[in-house]
Amino acid sequence: MNAGQHKPGANGTVPSRFDAIVVGGGPAGLAATFTLASAGATVACLERGTWSGSKNMMGGVIYSHPTANVFPGFWREAPLERLVTRRDMWFATTDSAIKASFESADFGQEPFNSFTVYRSRFDKWLAAQAAAAGAWMVTETLVEDLLQENGRVVGIRSGRPQGDLEADVVIIAEGVNPFLTEKAGLASCPPQAPNVALAVKEVLALPKEKIEDRFDLEPGAGAAIEIIGEITGGLPGTGFIYTNQDTISIGVGVLLDSLVDNVTEAYSILDKFKQQPQLRRLIQGASPREYSAHLIPEGGYRCMPQLYGDGVLVAGDAAGMVNPINSEGANLALLSGQMAAETVLACRRHGSFDRDALSLYRQQLEKSLIIKDLKKYENATPFLASHPQLFGLYPELMATIAREFLTVDNLSKADKEKLLLRLFRSQVPARRLLKDLFDAWRSLT
């Protein structure tokens, strides 16, 4: 049977050709779609999931400033979990932890700093804003290819009957697996194991009051905890805990390459992680609700594709816009999507969407924090991958020193200091420590 027998468009408002097509309804795509539609451009956004967010597993932190930059005052309406007022960093071994905590009353004041969200709900809300702004939102539709004429992108081909759609410009916001970016000839390095991290996460249900008790939070406030140490099995990566309204997101993100090299499954790391005594206390009695896993592009600046071509722009994860050091990605996606849209709007005034005209996008990104941050950390991922001691030995040593120092026994304090110094030197020769510090300084500053 052919659905095409029925002629749609009783209201003649459906354009046969759009100003812009956005591929992907995540933060980058939705920021682009919303910005274009708000400015009166005809824009269609194509998302492969049942709804925007249905394919997303992120239950983590979104930042207020960049989000409000695209969606002003979003916190008044958007589905948020908790207002993050505390950020913790743990250096943890399999049985102990040094915890650094920062809490600020400022974080609780408008315009706030960050919120925990379920992206599956949050992205749905973003999509509703784009629809209300006048965009054509299409879900359950996979874009399989780009339509090209003489090397110029002129539209998309979806898997649907009569699935071609034409536009002046296509914004690719397809996420971590950049098939279209490759097809457009824009990719610079393949999405291989050294360039991606695998994050696995569980959502555990726990009553509101228990969460607020255990994490020492005001009602409605939330905590975000990042954990470094032996609990990732010594692999380069970090663990995380985020408090939601009545659930906790707990997970680990580890460089895929190291999982392959060590023949380790990510879920087994998470299982061990949950057994760590200080962590286990926080999640005790919580019942599992979800388990999910997702790739994160961490190739950084060096893996960034060509960001523009004739009739095409790339934004968000597809463009490798992730800062692995600060665990930022959604904010960079939102901002890059917005900049892609603003570029299209500027080009529309001149009527040209060729490579030269669209290079404005790259210029805007260079001026913004996006490229500055990505450049700053361009060596971060290889540095972390080649210095596993940061995730094993150093946290272990910190814990040993703390334990010894706080243990009262028959040693004098002076003897204790000597003992600890000897221990430290035997584990980390001075030359190695200096080299690690130097490497860290070179790679991360």
């Binding site: 049977m1 659905a3 095409g4 029925h6 459906v14 006048g134 054509w136 299409v138 759609l165």
Partner: protein
């Protein structure tokens, strides 16, 4: 020569994700994504197939909270011509009696706006429903609508095969416990369909794009010719006295004997079947 139809679509929680609260015995729906009732999509495809053959006009109808618009938007994506959502606090808490009352009033209003093409005398020739919803599971709304509208009814339809527009009648296969039966009914008719009907089609991109901004009409109580007292919780005499999990069905007998030859197992099977009075012809004696 065209058939006007109404397809009733209910937004239900995705039952693959809901869980039962062991204390109250009720479905926990909080935070569970909603989907279109799967049987209603078979109803929708049946309606679309009829429009492909005979032409006509399809209205998708739902009742629910404002977010039930999502399932109607989905129906528009498949190419239905009009979408109507009954949404009003007064409709909330309805059992099947109050639900069919509201839906029937909506169908009458839809019918009044469309000239009759067949001899049925109604502006709506066929009302399609799924055989039941996957959350309530009553299977009463389709037949209830037929009764309230004075339509003939065909339930558990597994294949709607023919419409004789001139004679104003419809022929369909109906599923029974022990097989199926061929039935003929006069238009207008209310049809409830099973999952043996055709699976919903893959919508075309132009239809989806056209649907993206097509309006979903929202009707509240004042839009319908109804008596408020017969709506929602007020109009629902059904009282739930107890909710319980039914005892698990006894599993069937399994004949397995990995060490024995297959023929022996088959012999055993034949013996068991003939014990139960089933006559089996044995080939080759």
């Amino acid at each position: 020569m065209s058939i006007n139809s109404v397809v009733c679509i209910k937004q239900v929680p995705d039952t693959s994700q809901v869980w039962i609260d062991p204390e109250t015995g009720s479905l926990v729906r909080k935070g569970i994504p909603s989907v279109a009732n799967p049987y209603d999509l078979y109803a929708l495809e049946t309606a679309l197939g009829i429009r492909d053959r005979f032409g006509g006009f399809i209205t998708a109808l739902s009742m629910g909270p404002p977010q039930a618009e999502e399932v109607l938007r989905k129906a528009l994506g498949y190419g239905v011509d009009r979408a109507v959502l009954l949404s009003d606090r007064a409709f909330a808490g309805a059992d099947t009696l109050a639900t069919t009352y509201a839906l029937a009033a909506a169908v009458k209003k839809i019918a009044a706006g469309r000239p009759s093409q067949t001899g049925g005398g109604s502006g709506v020739d066929i009302v399609f429903c799924g055989k039941q919803s996957i959350d309530g599971d009553t299977g009463q709304v389709g037949p209830g609508l037929a009764r309230r509208l004075g339509f003939s009814q065909l339930t558990y339809v597994c294949s709607l095969i023919e419409i004789d527009v001139k004679a104003g009648c419809v022929e369909a296969w109906r599923r029974r416990e022990d097989g199926r039966e061929l039935l003929r009914a006069q238009l207008p008719v209310a049809v409830t369909v099973t999952e043996q009907c055709s699976h919903i089609r893959y919508a075309s991109l132009p239809d989806l794009i056209a649907a993206a901004k097509k309006p979903v009409e929202v009707w509240s109580v004042p839009d319908l010719d109804v008596d408020r007292g017969r709506l929602g919780l007020k109009g629902s005499p059904t009282r739930v006295s107890r909710i319980f999990a039914p005892p698990a069905r006894k599993r069937g007998e399994t004949l397995s004997a990995p060490s024995k030859p297959v023929t022996e197992v088959v012999e055993n099977l034949f013996d068991r079947l003939s014990e139960r009075g089933l006559k089996i012809g044995r080939r080759g004696g």
